[in-house]
Amino acid sequence: MKTTLMEDTGANLSASLRIALATIVLCGGLYPLFIFSFAHFVTPESASGSLVRNQAGKVIGSRLIAQAFTKPGYFWPRPSAVKYTAEAAGGSNLSPAGPEVRQRAAQTVKAFGADFRRPLPADLATTSGSGLDPLITLRAALFQASRVAYARGMALSDVQAAIRRHAAGQQILESGDGFVNVLELNMELDAARKTNSVPR
């Protein structure tokens, strides 16, 4: 009886070790390697993080990741609980019924210059789960259009047209409510204004 138990232990140990090793190589090594090769050849651009570069080839960010914008001549993204830190993402984790969210929202309202005649779209008053949401709603972009147009000395209608062009590609499911990628929109405005000066 005792010997069979010992034998069992030995057999269990050896089977466990062998199978662990085999599955580590397979699931931790070969499986990711296969997906990596596919991604490398088929979608090389998004596989390395959908990075966007300027004409000089310098990386200025990722199409999927929000970055900070504070100048009035740029569209601003949703507020971020992690200050757009893309190496340690996160949300506020605050209760949407709590005083901290209320205080923060009141400050945001002030920063955007909203009031009861022109209330702030809700996406601009809330932080996203990752703190890196690259999108704002079409309403939130239109809300900021006059500020951007004024700061850039552009016609309001030109800015609005640019917004609508970008929103068209981002319409998902919800009827009428499109989305705008903030970085892409700002890049386009910069490109259109090549001849003029940097935004104030």
Binding site: Y31, F38, A47, L51, A68, A125, P134, I136
Partner: protein, 557 residues
């Protein structure tokens, strides 16, 4: 519109679960003539002579524990040595001992509670060879143990061979499915690179360091294996884990898929398809109920904005716009806590106060499809209790699957039933009343209590999501939740298998007109009753202390 969304997210996995259940049965229980292929020989070569044995439930469990102990040891070793191992382009340093224990316990038990942020603490080696590997084999452990339970209830005292089952489910179920999902995600824009973080200088001239890595491989198995542990701290809210509406849909469908298929698999192995359909419909009903409630509650605006000049919209705090209106995130919250997945696409801590009750309730019951394999094993206990209560009502010895259910089985079943609430309630009580817990909450009052309650519920249910405002990186949290995860994993696997094993050893009783039919709508009511009355009532007091009090204190002013 809302309803369409619901159908979109739930109908698809339900439809896919049927063919998948058929396929999984064929993989796990190959008919005698088909098993002697090349692959079978390959399996035997990999595992050695141990794989040729047929094991009874005890031998099966011993092998399971051996292998799981091995998993634990291997992952502790890899995490402890991470700073010396390759694939570390960003130079991640050593990890705290208590964090290593917690993370090992978390990933071995298919929980994936994460007291770290992946992009901050883990090297690519740790992410792939330690954590992704465990996401496969811990899920495979669940599927294997479930298959053994089904075989025992089909009447055999020899329930298979653990190692063989583990290899079958890893190689032929989890790997191929993960490959498909990972490739879809890659096509949808999820990164898969071994380069370190990218340095960007933004349009305004600031520096932004963008963490990335081999993300797609991990995200696929984290969803399919009901693991839930993400590559980045904020999980599937992160644009790199979940870049679009479409990837969100693929990931959400992947969450309950295998757990749903196991129910059909049970029907096929035991030859009781109608019984399986009864169980499936009870689970589906509960899932729909949770989803509809979450969808509605989360469509309400954030209470904090009352009286501020902000446009009225559904609660967008902690949500990502690309997944559509807040309701889709609430849907995911319902699905991820019905199954014990625990990946998130919004911050659960920032759900409306009452919505927070929906994920909590899912984890308390832990049988709404549940974790791969183990969800059904949990449901088995509720079925046994339901059968027993019915038997008592008519004064007959209760039977299930043509075997008598007697004192011995009932003792074990009640023990299995009580472990879950015991772990949650005792843990919450201790931490809420000491600085261990009370000193670590982010939100004050009832919401802070919910953070503690959620953490223990998530650990005991092997779920892994969290009210992440909680500062859970401390030694007491790491040790306590580590232990709760281990107890909450192995006791609810060992006891049900002991029950099924003891039933299989009994003489079958012929089914007569007096036998309780287990394939009727009436039996669905019996299961539903035992789940709701026994499972939910135990948690009523804490539900009132947490989310309900939170709601009342903020809405009545």
């Amino acid at each position: 519109m809302q309803l369409l969304m619901l159908l979109l997210f739930i109908v698809m996995p339900v439809l896919l679960s049927w063919p998948l259940g058929r396929f999984m049965t064929a993989v796990m229980n190959p008919s005698a003539n088909s098993s002697e292929g090349m692959l079978a020989i390959l399996l035997r070569k990999t595992g050695g002579r141990m794989l040729q044995r047929e094991q009874d439930w005890k031998g099966y469990l011993i092998s399971m524990l051996f292998f799981n102990a091995n998993m634990f040891a291997a992952v502790v070793l890899m995490l402890a040595l991470q700073q010396m191992l390759p694939l570390n382009p960003d130079g991640k340093g050593p990890l705290k001992a208590s964090l290593i224990f917690n993370t090992a316990a978390s990933f071995v038990t298919n929980t994936n509670l994460q007291h770290y942020a992946g992009e901050v603490s883990m090297s690519y080696f740790s992410q792939l060879f330690a954590l992704t590997w465990l996401q496969f084999v811990s899920a495979a452990t669940g599927i294997a143990c479930f298959t053994a339970l089904a075989r025992a209830l089909a009447g055999s005292t020899l329930v298979g061979n653990f190692y063989r089952d583990l290899l079958r489910s890893t190689l032929f179920i989890l790997l191929p499915l993960s490959l498909v999902v990972a490739l879809l995600l890659v096509a949808g824009g999820v990164p898969m690179t071994f380069e370190g973080a990218a340095a960007a200088s933004t349009l305004e001239g600031a520096m932004q360091t963008i963490a990335r890595g081999p993300v797609a491989a991990m995200v696929a198995i984290k969803q399919l294996g009901t693991n839930g542990g993400g590559f980045f701290g904020p999980n599937s809210t992160h644009p790199f884990e979940n870049p679009s509406f479409l990837t969100n849909y693929i990931e959400c469908v992947s969450i309950p898929l295998i757990a749903m298929a196991t129910v059909w698999m049970f029907g096929r192995i035991t030859g009781r398809m109608r019984h399986a359909a009864v169980i499936f419909s009870v689970m589906l009903l509960l899932l729909l109920l949770k989803s509809v409630i979450a969808l509605n509650l989360e469509s309400a605006p954030a209470m904090a904005f009352k009286g501020l000049p902000i446009e009225s919209a559904s609660n967008l705090e902690g949500k990502e716009l690309r997944f559509g209106p807040a309701g889709t995130a609430a849907m995911w919250a319902a699905v991820t806590t019905a199954t014990s997945n625990g990946s998130v696409n919004c911050m659960h801590d920032s759900l409306n106060p009452l919505t927070g009750l929906v994920p909590l309730a899912g984890m308390w019951l832990n049988v709404i499809f549940g974790g791969v394999g183990v969800g059904f094993i949990n449901m088995f206990i509720f079925i046994i209790v339901g059968v027993f209560i019915c038997g008592m009502m008519v004064g007959r010895t209760p039977e299930y699957c043509a075997r008598k259910v007697e004192t011995h089985e009932m003792k074990l079943a009640l023990l299995a039933l009580l472990v879950h609430p015991l772990l949650i309630l005792v843990g919450t009580a201790i931490f809420a009343s000491t600085t261990w817990g009370a000193g670590t909450v982010l939100n004050k009052g009832a919401h802070g209590f919910s953070e503690i309650l959620y953490e223990f519920s998530s650990a005991a249910a092997n779920n892994g999501s969290g009210f992440e405002g909680l500062g859970d990186g401390t030694v007491p949290w790491n040790v306590a939740t580590g232990l709760v995860m281990l107890l909450g994993r192995y006791i609810p696997i060992i006891l049900p298998l002991a029950i099924a094993g003891s039933m299989a050893a009994k003489k079958p009783v012929p089914e007569t007109t007096g036998t309780l039919r287990i394939d009727t709508p009436l039996f669905a009511v019996v299961i539903l009753g035992s789940v709701l009355l026994i499972g939910a009532l135990l948690f009523m007091p804490v539900a009132v202390l947490g989310p309900v009090a939170d709601y009342l204190s903020t809405s009545i002013q």
